[in-house]
């Protein structure tokens, strides 16, 4: 018996408005509410609502299981602009067949820049998921599937039972992604690896008419799944695959509707990640260098590859201690919203220069504009920091210093 483990990432960034140097010190609102609302409403109509309805139906009729992580920035925007989307996820949670995972609250790159902030964001998100969906997450999934041995160890120390990563050939070498592994240097936590070939057949190639396997039908795909040797086939993808990346007219919804029926012809079942990690791990797997699920390189260069990105990230995380010391909730929240990985992705030059329009979407048109807007905001945040009254705790620390 082989199992299918679905994991869907649900994320929307809080896009920044065109924030000019002349806004610094005068206007402290950074977000493009109009655009954010537009995107949420559009994707809700095309993807979230119809796909949730489909999954709910498949759970009831075909006993399908699935897992999700929904970033805090997406949850914020559902609460503001599309409460019906949030309710539809809650209905999924109520079935008992859906598991919610923890990620960083702000879809941040904190794992690469600040362990302290990383831990805080994980705790924030865990708490929020518990409040919204009534289940305490047991599995951790880092932003963009960024992963290494240290991240696995940290997740274990925080009580997680499982963690997700990319099933990338150079780390697997001769091994298969379709087994449960144990991260090197850990005791209990288990590692589930994305089967990127089968995942990307749906997420990226489904509607590609130049692909030799096009059109991908449910019977064909079910047969491929059946031919896989292993414990579990981890199909990890962006939830926006359904209806947004692959439009409805590509047949993606019909494909998903038929798939459980076709899979039923074989000795295959559905498992949530928590169920999957109950299986024994077959081996230890060491990932000393950081990997992600992005690009051909599976590295972090999409967010940290150029000088603008590095400078923006450095300047942002430099402010951490001072920002937190103010205890100013609004300031901290704004600072955290700037950590979302998308802001740095928009500064990526390699896609822009290569002119790969399919891959590259940027609300600010060019990576340079993205950087300029971001740095203007950082500048304003720094000024707010200087002007903000220190918190009681900070005043106490100051006083202690003077007494000494």
């Amino acid at each position: 018996m082989t199992s299918i483990c679905f994991y869907f990432q649900v994320h929307q960034p809080s896009r920044l408005r065109h924030y000019s140097v002349f806004d610094i010190g005068k206007n402290h609102y950074y977000f493009d509410d109009k655009k954010n609302k537009e995107v949420i409403e559009k994707v809700a109509g095309k993807c979230y609502l119809p796909t949730n309805a489909l999954i709910l139906d498949l759970i009831k009729n075909k006993n399908v299981k699935a897992s999700y992580s929904i970033s805090g920035t997406a949850l914020d925007q559902f609460e503001r602009f599309a409460p019906d989307v949030l309710e539809s996820f809650q209905r999924l949670a109520d079935t008992g067949n859906v598991e919610f995972l923890t990620e960083t609250e702000h879809h941040a790159l904190a794992s690469l820049y600040s362990k302290k902030e990383f831990v805080e964001q994980i705790n924030l998100h865990t708490k929020r998921i518990k409040n919204l969906f009534g289940q305490k997450p047991k599995i951790f999934r880092n932003t963009e599937l960024i992963y290494n041995n240290e991240i696995a160890k940290l997740a274990e120390s925080m009580g997680f039972k499982g963690i997700l990563a990319e099933g990338w050939d150079p780390i697997l070498e001769w091994r298969s992604p379709n087994f449960v592994y144990r991260p090197a240097g850990t005791k209990k936590i288990k590692l589930l690896l994305k089967n990127y070939k089968l995942s990307d057949d749906v997420a990226f190639r489904f509607s590609n008419k130049g692909w030799t396997e096009w059109p991908l039908t449910a019977p064909k795909y079910a047969a491929w799944l059946n031919s896989v040797q292993g414990q579990v086939i981890n199909l990890f993808m962006d939830y926006e695959t359904f209806g947004e990346h692959q439009w409805e007219d590509t047949g993606i919804f019909n494909f998903m509707r038929q798939l459980p029926h076709e899979v039923g012809n074989y000795n295959i079942d559905f498992k949530t990640p928590s169920e999957a990690i109950k299986m024994d791990s077959v081996a230890e797997l060491s990932v000393p260098n950081t990997i992600s699920w992005a690009d051909l390189e599976r590295d972090t260069s999409a967010w940290t590859g150029n000088r603008m990105q590095q400078s923006a990230l450095t300047e942002l995380y430099k402010l951490e201690n001072e920002i937190k010391a103010t205890g100013d909730k609004e300031l901290i929240s704004d600072w955290r919203n700037l950590q979302t990985s998308d802001h740095f992705y928009y500064m990526c030059i390699k896609y822009f220069s290569d002119g790969d329009v399919h891959k590259y979407f940027n609300p600010y048109n060019t990576p340079y504009d993205a950087y300029i807007i971001f740095m203007n905001i950082i500048n304003d945040i720094s000024q707010r920091l200087k002007n903000s009254k220190p918190s009681a705790y900070a005043r106490f620390l100051n006083l202690m210093r003077k007494i000494k």
């Binding site: 000019s20 140097v21 002349f22 610094i24 150029n306 000088r307 603008m308 590095q310 400078s311 030059i349 822009f352 220069s353 002119g355 060019t366 990576p367 340079y368 504009d369 950087y371 300029i372 740095m375 203007n376």
Partner: protein, 399 residues
Amino acid sequence: MKVLMFGWEFPPFYSGGLGPACAGLTKGLVKKGVEVTFVIPRKPSDIKTHVNLVSAEEVFGEKLIIKEIPSLLTPYINSESYKDMLKKGGGGSELYGANLFEEVKRYALAARKIAEQESFDIIHAHDWLTFLAGIEAKKVSKKPLVTHVHATEFDRTGRQGVNQHVYDIEKQGMEAADAVTPVSHFTKELIVQHYGINPDKIHVVHNAVEFEKADVEPHKLPQKTVLFLGRVTIQKGPDYFIDAAKKVIEVYPDVRFVVAGSGDMTGKMIERASHYGIGDKVLFTGFLRGPDIDRAYRMADVYVMPSVSEPFGLTPLEAIKNGTPVIISKQSGVSEVLKNALKVDFWDVNELANKICAVLRHQPLKDELLSQEQRELGSISWDKSADTCYDVYRKVLGR
């Protein structure tokens, strides 16, 4: 293939982008084995024209023959402010000089004679000044005509109105042509819209820039420096530059703005700067030549081209060549070949100031921008433009 080419200026005698563009393009064509006879009017006697022309011949070997026609012409465009002229209700004489139209006609007559004497397969005329010459040459030789549009009357006047006479010649030249080659899609659109030319016979030939390592001493001001370089005329948007300077100085008082070049708006720009109270921070260099141009680019931390209507715009490429990143107007042809430049609508002074501030403030932005711009510059060459031009020749010749 033999081309009879009509131009108005040829390096080292030029006042704008036309001369270098003709030189670059013909160099590329000659490399492809095309024989080019380049016809220009005679230069004014107070410049040592002859020696330099000979040296131009040497550059191209025997394949490029430079012919002279007697002409009294002074520089291409010298003018009072065009806006003022329109207000006064004057005609074209002030913008173009009293004798210019006569010169254009005389040049056309001479072209007839040359066309009778020379043997060639195709005629190629650069800008309206030579269009009548091209038409005459076509009449006597029955050879196909390509008219090359480096600028239109709408660009030169910043779209503030046109000289009817010039417009008519431009339209006549493009209508008589078998193919029209504008220097950008920006200009192609304008030609279709304002001259009613069939888009099917319009083929864009982008300009390029030659790579010559300029050997000048870099001279930096102690302050961060922002550069405008070009004719100080309505087309080039110097007023937007000064307005942006005012805005930038509000945020960064210690920045210098340099206006390099001369033109009918220089006086007004000096007044404007002093009216804003930034007269001490805006420096005017007057007209620059040769190595001084490279020096100016190297002095700057960022180059700004805020043109109102720029068919191509070679100066940003020159700036990049000299290691200075650029901010360019979206209303320009060069923005079609430079993806990695900062771009603004020329009227959006706030955004221009915002981008100037960003480049001055953030070294990583400056570094990434420049390295990407230089990478792009490497893929722009006159050889490529000549390839496109050659394809156009083959098309009209039916080969």
